[in-house]
């Protein structure tokens, strides 16, 4: 493969092999084979229900603000490479772009988005 990612593939294979070897060694030296199936730890009480249910998170608006803000990374990484060549225009444009997003973040902050409500 001519791509520069050939070492990635090699390392991925090597690491997965190492992890598999760890599991293999563990299987050999373990005193008790198999998987012990237990109740979830509940301070010594019997569990009352399965824990995997609809889990309501109180910070879901943070995720949306994050996704929007995060999109500017798509532009900012290539921007970092060219900023020295393109000149002041690039800096003004990018930080104008970021300033607009930051206004959005400050607005969200004022509305209490970054708090557990």
């Amino acid at each position: 493969m001519q791509s520069e990612f050939a070492p990635v593939l090699l390392l991925l294979v090597a690491t997965v092999a190492a992890v598999a070897a760890t599991y293999g060694v563990a299987a050999l030296v373990r005193w008790a084979p198999g998987v012990l199936v237990v109740d979830p730890f509940s301070s010594g009480m019997a569990p009352e229900e399965h824990a995997v249910s609809r889990h309501h998170v109180r910070w879901y608006t943070v995720t949306m603000v994050f996704l929007a803000f995060d999109m500017e990374m798509v532009f900012m990484y290539p921007w970092a490479v060219v900023v020295a060549q393109v000149g002041p225009k690039a800096v003004v444009e990018m930080f104008g772009f970021l300033a607009v997003l930051m206004v959005g973040v400050v607005y969200a902050w004022r509305e209490g988005t970054f708090r557990w409500t």
Partner: protein, 187 residues
Amino acid sequence: MAEAVIFWVCAAGAVATGVAVFRVDSMARATFALLASFVFAATPLLLLGLSYLGVLVILMMIMEMVVMAIFMIMLMMNPAGLMPMSMVHNRRGSLAIAVGTFVVLGAGVLLVDWPQRAGTPPEDVTFALGEALMGSHMLVMLVIGLGLFATIVSAVVLAHPRGRYDRFGDDLRGRPADDPIRGGVGR
């Protein structure tokens, strides 16, 4: 040769995990099957030499799928799939749309006269992308910036249960803010 093998493995993997999204009962598994599908789809970009785009797709998709998992599990019935359920609705209609789309795209692949490459790819694709963004595609970026700003504001307006009037009182002078759980800045 190696490239072809990797491509086909990724192609098969992307389809298989894509199918898994609709076959598994658990929302968590469905989300991460979709993530796997995206990662398989991103790998051919790396093969094409589009290093930045390929890695970026992996990066973005991980973050986005984790966020999606949060919403899937918050909103869907029985997210762990411990009760049997189906992810498929309107079987006949969706089947028709899927087959139709596949036929159209497949026909396009086979029938369209693909153009020959004019010119050569740039030395550094990422650099070229940056130049395009800062030059000819500046307007696109600015529009997207405003779009993202609008997204932030509308997401907060629509989704946030408590606003500034709840926090600071009707005259917006209440300090510190009245929140059920306090935060890290400004008490």
